[in-house]
């Protein structure tokens, strides 16, 4: 199940209704999730959870599940 803070960030940055967001929410399926919003999203996640993603990892964070897993791997979820 998606973390509430992550859901809020996804909703705010991608301008989505929070209730429409699930683990399966992904860049390829959300029109507003373009390359600039992706960077804004990663910055927002880093700020909220006080983490710093590796440059090679940032392009892979293209779904709610992928972001969740990356945060879980850092022990913040």
């Amino acid at each position: 199940m998606i973390d509430d803070r992550l859901r809020t960030i996804l909703a705010d940055v991608l301008e989505l209704e929070p209730g429409t967001i699930s683990d399966a929410t992904a860049a390829g399926e959300v029109k507003s999730w373009d390359s600039v919003r992706h960077l804004q999203l990663v910055l927002a996640v880093e700020g909220e959870f006080d983490v710093a993603f590796d440059p090679e990892e940032i392009p892979t964070l293209t779904s709610a599940r992928a972001i969740h897993d990356a945060l879980a791997a850092r022990g913040v979820l």
């Binding site: 373009d34 390359s35 600039v36 960077l39 804004q40 990663v42 910055l43 880093e46 700020g47 710093a52 440059p55 090679e56 940032i58 392009p59």
Partner: protein, 134 residues
Amino acid sequence: MLRRLDHTGFAVKDLEAAIALFRDVLAADVGPIFEDPLQRVRLCFASYDGGRVELIAPLGDDSPVTRVLAQGGGGTYHLCYETDDLDAEVARLRKQRFLPTGPAQPAVAFGGRRVIFLFHQVAKLIELVESTAK
């Protein structure tokens, strides 16, 4: 630390047309055209006494400049700064909420010196280029 502003990045769809505009109308000294397969761009510099503009066109549909053109129609989209220590500068900017858009890579237009792009919510897209080949 950042040494100086190296150039302004200017995205164009048609590089040859942009070269003609900057050379013939905007009085720039235009240098050679480079193709950079890593950055997926074709580019050249339009130079003036006070600075230079990097004219950048996409090299294929998977070029990052293709997305820039699709989103904003082109024009000025990044500022490039020269730095003596690229890795230290990335680490410093990382703490100021600048986000790398990918790893540092050697750039053909800079003789193989590494460049990296970083995004910031306010500063938007900046590029760093190291001052000497390492």
